[in-house]
Amino acid sequence: MSPILIGIGLALLALLGAPLFAIIGAISMLSFAGEGIDISAVIVELYRIGSNPTLVAIPLFTFAGYVLAESGAPTRMVNLARAFFGTIPGGLSVVVLVTCALFTAFTGASGVTIVALGGLLYPILLKEQYPERFSLGLITTSGSLGLLFPPSLPLILYAITSGISIDKLFAAGIIPGILLVLILAAYGIRQGKKLNIPKTPFSWMNVISALKAAAWEVPLPFVIVGGIYTGTFTATEAAAVTAFYVLVVEVFIYRDLNLFKDIPRVMKESMILVGAIIMIICTAMGLTNYLVDQEVPMKLFEFTKTFISSPVMFLVVLNIFLIIVGMMMDIFSAIIVVVPLIIPIAAAYEINPVHLGIIFLTNLEIGYLTPPVGLNLFISSIRFEKPVFTVVRATLPYILILLVALMVITYVPELSLWLGDTLNIK
């Protein structure tokens, strides 16, 4: 069989829903076999990446995120945010954005945010007279908003595949992430004013009681971010501390979850996601190394050089390309398959690899909202029992806003690089 026929066959199988790790695995094995190399070369690469110390952060953070999602943490977080932001016009939309962003940072934009927090916030939005379309779009958009904040899974994965220090990437995401939240919050507040939505009066009593209720969870983001930025511990150590701390707090202090009844189930659910991701990472490594060996990135660069001469133009094309990637692929496979190919090309155009990472992830964040495979669209559609088309229409204004923010992030590299440089993070 000719390679083209095999390629078409595999593409067809992928579109029909065959597991992507098997598709990638088949391609890597066929490529190695074609070169006369034993297929166990795939496994050599698998083990090399599979025993990478940074990989440890993935199961630990994911488990912590799932425990938080299953516990009463979402309710406590929403109450706290409402006590703070309820008083500004459109304040509830700010509550949605902030809580979802924080939550996604922990759960890695796997759809858990929309299910856990969206299910809680959507009825509140409607009750406070926010229009249905506005609310639906807001929740759907917020489902992947925290992607750029540490310790999000995509940031960790990007660090692993690109070889950039994870701490550096963690620092780079903060300011662009805040920018995304701010710009969406501005829209929410404007809509709130326009629609004349009643405000909740501010009261210190509310703030104090909400703070008291969430007292054990509030320090968590500060400990993680502070610990990593001050160099007290590494990202992997932060993951270990978070997993253990969250387990103790939710099981023994809040008693939201039972150690024997709930925790094994949560472990299973979180590790199913981790297993699916690790499968892709492990099998894709063989393929990417094959492609790098064959100098595919350099050939691609030679090709693009004839069309694209300036770095600015490269960034424009890169954004368009990545949005298309985001439409076709989920974020995890996209990172592992695409990143090793574009890093050398971007380097040839003198784009900073850390900045490239933030551009990449912002694009893919938008990809969560774009049809045909935007994950958030489908989760919202199922969770809120609305046709996918309705969700798409509701999300449209938010996509446009995010695209503007993406341009800013792309053309102002300082947003991504300033914090890391100032704190001198290695």
Binding site: A18, I39, L55, A240, F244, M328
Partner: protein, 166 residues
């Protein structure tokens, strides 16, 4: 078929048990290591290596469990719109492909393990390196088996033409 199906279910239960054990030890060991390092300025020599391999073991087992829940990462934008019957037919093809690929990946993993066994070498705590790597072929073969059951189930549903309530 009933026998295969109960074997399938039994395997899932065993995997679940191992997963909980591995993840629990991973959380405890990793946390202990941080405490020892930051508070007492020491550490367990073998802990980091064990934790890294626990990730591999629980990752593969998680992937095996993902097969049953149909949680493997895949493009499902198209299959969402298919009728139940067509979906069964499509699943027969995709599962067949997954079984074959996982079988070959498992065989490649086995070759790798045999090479490591030949090389010898100890990981830590008297564990031979090749033993720690057994999960790679075992994991792929487990996934292949689960996909095989799925394949058979979907083939049966296709011929029965009955709508499975899901």
């Amino acid at each position: 078929m009933t026998l295969l199906r109960s074997l399938d279910r039994l395997l899932y239960k065993i995997e679940f048990g191992f997963l909980v054990a591995f993840l629990s030890s991973m959380i405890l060991l990793a946390f202990m290591q941080v405490v020892l390092r930051n508070v007492f300025g020491t550490g367990i020599v073998w802990a980091d290596t064990i934790v890294r391999h626990l990730v591999l073991w629980s990752g593969f087992i998680g992937a095996a469990l993902a097969t049953g829940k149909e949680k493997h990462i895949s493009i499902d934008a198209l299959t969402k719109y298919l009728s139940a019957r067509t979906r069964h037919i499509v699943m027969v093809f995709t599962c067949t492909f997954a079984v074959i690929t996982c079988y070959y990946l498992g065989r490649a993993g086995w070759t790798f393990v045999l090479e490591q066994q030949l090389n010898g070498g100890e990981l830590v705590l008297g564990i031979q390196t090749w033993v720690a790597l057994l999960i790679i072929p075992a994991g792929y073969f487990l996934i292949a088996f689960h996909f095989l059951i799925k394949l058979i189930e979907n083939a049966i549903s296709t011929f029965d033409g009955k709508q499975e309530a899901k």
